[in-house]
Amino acid sequence: MSGTTLDDYTGRYASRVHGMAQSEIRALFSVASRPEVVSLAGGNPYTAALPMDELGEMFTRLLSQVGAEALGYCPGQGSVALREALCGVLELSGIRASADDLVLTTGAQQGLDLLARTFLDPGDIVLAEGPTYVGALGAFQAAQADVRHLPMDDEGLIPAGLEEGLAAIAREGRRAKFLYTIPTYQNPAGVTLTEERREEILAIAERHGLLIIEDDPYSMISFDGTPPAPLRARAERGVIYLGTVSKIFAAGLRLGWVLAPPAVRDKLLLAIEASILCPSGLTQEATLRFLTEMEWRQQVKVFNTLYRDRRDALLAALGDYMPDGMTWTVPGGGLFIWATLPDGLDSKAMLPRALQERVAYVPGTGFYADGNGRREMRLNFSTQTAEVIREGVRRLAGVVASDIELRDTFAEGGA
């Protein structure tokens, strides 16, 4: 037998899959799911807080009343009734939309994929906050885009940073295809773009003819009052808006939507039909009933109360246990806190030690397209109880302290 790479298809793959490979981080996360590990690495909404009995009855009614239709194919754009109901949801955030302008997708993630396919050629420049949502990076990188990060602070994306980014691209004689942003309770950073900056960012985008893709999964997951209205509520032109029921209802239903101008909408529709024919009818019908028959806004309050307590527990534990030099954001909503390790520490290198102490987090590098993020980490507070979160932070603080010691030992060693 001569040499083999155990992959007979090497010469046949599309260039966009080159570089897609399993890394050791994947190996480490397989341990993070073990029950003895306190995982602050998750990203799941706490679906156990849903009224399962009531949902069970709803699903039973659904199947007996419209089961045949719900289990068949449906129009590519999705059901009109649900799109109308979703327009009602959007109105609560100040967004005026017509049901005709919504395209229902299999989670907002599919919306990102469709937008990437619709707008991006290999090498095209995409602007995004640094750090940004790892799933968006996946979609843009699969389209072979050149993602350029823009700086953020506690008030979100920095307008001057956007100006500078655009100027740098112009100096290359190029243009960015769009700006991808999560203005409210950003994933992973947890920060929110302020009222003033929203207007500034829109003004800059308008001046430069820059298309904005606004991803807004978290704005209803709010703990300290209502966040500023979405960008799309302020500008009907120049903003494509992505929404989802993953955080207000159930991520497992995989239902999201894209609100886009008619010309873009028509292209997305063709793309979705080529991709999946149509979104799941069962999911759409369940979501419609959740929004029209159930006390969904009450349910969102239940989630928010639960998450607020858990966020507070995480913040309190960080304050109580973490050594000097460690910093973190204070999110007003969403599911995540973004923490920065003391100088000279590396969150990726530290992960095996953390897992040994039975605590997990997501190292920051996954949220950047350019290798940054080594000092940073994302901590989730939606999936564990306050007590478990506290215990997880206590363990993590011990690991950080031990890494500081290791850093000091080897800094003396001439690192």
Binding site: A21, E24, R34
Partner: protein, 321 residues
């Protein structure tokens, strides 16, 4: 339960998963082994390690256990010791041999005492660097051993935490990377040469070496990504070695297997330099059986069926009781 029982009457428990970073690799190894044994009709089931394992084993004892848990506690001998306490027959190496092979530094001591060539090394616990000063210690190690060096965690596999040091500036970060996985570092002289792995199996007539496998990562080192992504490494079985060199790798692998007291199956990793000189790096008692693992590749290259080999080992384990 008798050795000659029908396969369907033999309950084989495959233990896979575990608490180490090789959890997922182990699950893959377990699935592949389970599939191979099920095809041959064995009543095979797979289970992860957890707090309920002991009561489950006591309540429904399997006839044979095939531990394929990588890392701790699957390879360090503790899982084997627990199974021995319960009186359950094990496929593979017992607790004593596993303990010897797991501790890379102790294993190298045994190999050198037995006259088996292995690269020069020193070992250093994390604590020593803060006690004696990292700079002084690293300078001394570099001066004494020369560069390049390879820094490895004293225990563990899949290339995790292994770093080559080509210049002194790389030393501190290599040490820190190593201490992510173990509190003791094995610092070994880097031997330039071809990476060769030799599987050893024992089908009842004593240990036999399988054809050597040459490992050539297409880009960079044979790290985690190169090991587990099809297409990232070229494996050649049998390795293109001259007959005397190939024979010597086989001989050395068998000597390692015997010296460390390994059983049923093992994998010995070696380096063959341009002059045909051979150095033994380490031995593994729970070699991977995933689709990119070396042992099943070598078994097939020897003209044997992976499932049949496992089946024979299962029956041998039964006969040992």
């Amino acid at each position: 339960m008798k050795e000659g029982a029908a396969a369907a009457d033999i309950r084989v428990l495959i233990l896979a998963g575990g608490m180490s970073y090789e959890h997922e690799v182990s699950l893959k190894s377990g699935r592949r082994a389970a599939d191979a044994l099920q095809r041959l009709g064995f009543a095979c089931y797979t289970r992860d390690l957890d707090g309920e394992l002991l009561p489950a084993l006591q309540e429904f004892p399997p006839d044979v256990v095939l531990p394929l848990v990588h890392g701790q506690p699957g390879e360090d001998g503790s899982l084997q010791a627990v199974l021995e306490l319960l009186g359950l027959p094990i496929v593979g190496t017992g607790s004593t041999g596993a303990r010897r092979a797991w501790n890379k530094i102790a294993a190298k001591d045994l190999l050198r005492t037995a006259g088996i060539p292995t690269p020069d090394w020193t070992s250093m616990p994390r604590q020593a660097f803060s006690d004696f000063g990292a700079r002084k210690l690293l300078d001394r190690i570099a001066a004494k051993m020369g560069l390049p060096l390879v820094v490895k965690p004293n225990s563990g596999g899949s290339g995790l935490g292994v770093h080559a040091v080509h210049k002194e500036d790389d030393f501190p970060s290599a040490m820190m990377g190593c201490f992510s996985y173990s509190d003791t570092a094995l610092i070994e002289s880097f031997v330039e040469g071809r990476d060769i792995a030799v599987g050893v199996i024992d089908l009842g007539d004593g240990p036999v070496a399988l054809p050597p496998v040459e490992i050539a990562p297409l880009h960079g080192d044979y790290d985690y990504a190169a090991r587990y992504n099809p297409g990232a490494t070229r494996w050649t079985v049998p390795a293109a070695l001259s007959e005397p060199v190939a024979a010597r790798t086989a001989e050395l692998a068998l000597e390692v297997h015997r010296t460390l007291g390994l059983g049923d199956m093992s994998r010995v990793d070696l380096i063959v330099d341009d002059a045909g000189g051979i150095q033994v790096l380490e031995a593994n008692v729970a070699p991977g059986t995933t689709e990119t693992s070396l042992l099943p590749m070598a078994i097939e290259a020897a003209g044997l069926d992976f499932g049949e080999v496992l089946a024979t080992m299962v029956r041998q384990a039964l006969a040992r009781t």
